[in-house]
């Protein structure tokens, strides 16, 4: 301890000797009364200590839920495909190609997203129907590659539904109903009423005739008489060989579309039959 520090201590000791004042009692009482008056209720304080974290947690949870919901909405929106009534007429390849090719589906999806984004939620039912009718592209490719018969038959059903209506209009314009067409109407109506029923792997001959006549009748250039003439008769479909001969006759007659369709049905009905 040097001399300066020793002198500092002397000053401090002298001040200590001097400074002996104490706080007046009335001041002590006032301050303590003020402190007691301002003290919070401990139970209230405990509640407040919980309330703040709980409020924060609730706010954060709510924000997260809203954010996740908003982020998930675009994924929920269905991929939109063209409606059945805007489909083109039956192509020359018929059921092999299918009505909803990928390009059309993509174009329709983009157009729908641009113009109809706000309308989607209001018209959810319509989109659900469309979604049921149109499978995902990947699924469609997989089914195509595996030769799924059910898919083709579903597509044929949808075409048949529209075509049957047009055929009935044509029939009313030319009043010469043939026997198979008259028999077709109840079957088509039954299919419309129960669209989700599973279709058998090998369809009945009558049903095939219905489809074929419907496809041909949906062509604007065809008449009912032509459709009846192009279809292979029932007795020729009993065996694969006779059916194939009928197809050859159709080809020779220049009815390539009908022949293709008949050939597809032949392959479906008799999968073991080897085409020459």
């Amino acid at each position: 301890m040097n001399n300066e520090q020793q002198r500092d201590n002397i000053v401090s000791a002298a001040y200590k000797d001097l400074a002996n004042e104490r706080t007046p009692e009335h001041l002590d009482q006032r301050v303590l009364a003020m402190a007691a008056g301002s003290a919070k209720d401990p139970s209230y304080s405990r509640w407040i200590s919980w309330a703040r974290p709980v409020a924060w947690a609730a706010t954060i949870t709510l924000c997260l839920a809203i954010t996740l919901e908003l982020a998930r909405q675009p994924e929920v929106q269905p991929s939109v495909a063209p409606a059945p009534d805007v489909l083109p007429g039956p192509s020359t390849t018929g059921l092999v190609q299918g009505p909803f090719d990928e390009q059309q589906s993509d174009e329709a999806r983009v157009a729908e997203d641009k113009t109809d984004a706000g309308f989607l939620s209001k018209d959810r039912d319509r989109h659900d129907l469309v979604k049921i009718e149109v499978p995902e592209t990947a699924e469609e490719n997989a089914r195509r590659s595996s030769g799924d018969i059910e898919l083709q038959q579903e597509v044929a059903d949808s075409i048949a539904n529209t075509a049957a209506e047009k055929a009935s209009l044509l029939r009313s314009a030319a009043p010469q109903p043939t026997e198979p067409q008259a028999a077709d109407q109840p079957a088509a109506a039954a299919r419309r009423q129960a669209p989700n029923e599973s279709v058998p792997a090998a369809p009945a001959v009558e049903e095939i005739r219905v489809r074929q006549s419907a496809v041909v009748a949906s062509s604007p250039m065809a008449s009912d008489a032509d459709a009846e003439w192009m279809a292979c008769p029932k007795e020729r479909r009993n065996t694969a060989e006779s059916w194939y001969e009928c197809i050859l006759e159709l080809r020779e007659a220049g009815e390539q579309a009908a022949a293709e369709l008949e050939q597809e049905l032949l392959v479906d009905t008799f999968p073991d039959f080897k085409l020459p």
Binding site: D17, A39, S45
Partner: protein, 211 residues
């Protein structure tokens, strides 16, 4: 009461930054002070009373010697504790409670000076704080004479030097903590404290030098 410049400089160099005095509050009490304050924040009035009893006398003397008037010291004393009580909800133990308390007291004193700077009675020194002029020097012991001279010298110190000296002696704050309380830098604080101590030392040693 003349202090030479070389003496002041050498005294500054020798002043330790963490000087404590025997009667100053213990430095290691601050965590307990903070804990008591937190308990009071949660509604424990008894904790506040313990805290108050620790600091009330030192704070009162600090304000009494700053204001030089007992009534004003009483008012500021209540104002300081009122602010501490009101701010208990927002209290965070980021610093020593003593530093926090004396910073509030310092600011209250500054506000008090601003509010009353036109009033002349502030300059008047309370009779209790002045040495008794009617008492004969022969009846006083050397020790009591030294006390009288120290008291007079303390009242004659400039406000800034007296403030720093009282913070050092009463609150037991270090130079850095005093600098925080008074909003000044460490060197300025050190210089003010050194000048104050030198003047008081001269006042105490005056009879010995005269003899």
């Amino acid at each position: 009461m003349v202090s030479s410049a070389p003496t002041a400089v050498s005294a500054e160099m020798s002043l330790p930054s963490q000087t404590t005095v025997a009667y100053a509050p213990a430095m290691d009490r601050s965590p307990e002070d903070s804990a008591l304050m937190l308990r009071y924040r949660d509604g424990d009035t008894a904790a506040f009373e313990v805290l108050y009893r620790r600091h009330n006398d030192a704070l009162y003397r600090y304000l009494l010697r700053l204001c030089k008037h007992r009534d004003n010291a009483d008012d500021i004393f209540q104002e300081v504790w009122g602010k501490i009580i009101k701010a208990a909800d927002r209290y965070r133990p980021t610093a020593k409670f003593t530093t926090y308390l004396y910073r509030v007291a310092h600011n209250c004193f500054i506000d008090y000076l601003r509010r009353n700077k036109r009033h002349t009675h502030i300059a008047q020194v309370d009779a209790d704080l002045q040495p008794n002029p009617g008492e004969s020097p022969d009846t006083l012991t050397e020790r009591s004479l030294a006390r009288e001279r120290l008291q007079l010298a303390l009242l004659e110190l400039p406000d800034e030097q007296r403030d720093v000296f009282l913070l050092h002696e009463e609150a037991g704050l270090s130079l850095d903590e005093i600098a925080k309380v008074t909003d000044s830098n460490r060197e300025t604080t050190k210089s003010r404290l050194r000048y104050a101590v030198n003047k008081l030392r001269v006042a105490i040693d005056e009879p010995a030098e005269a003899s």
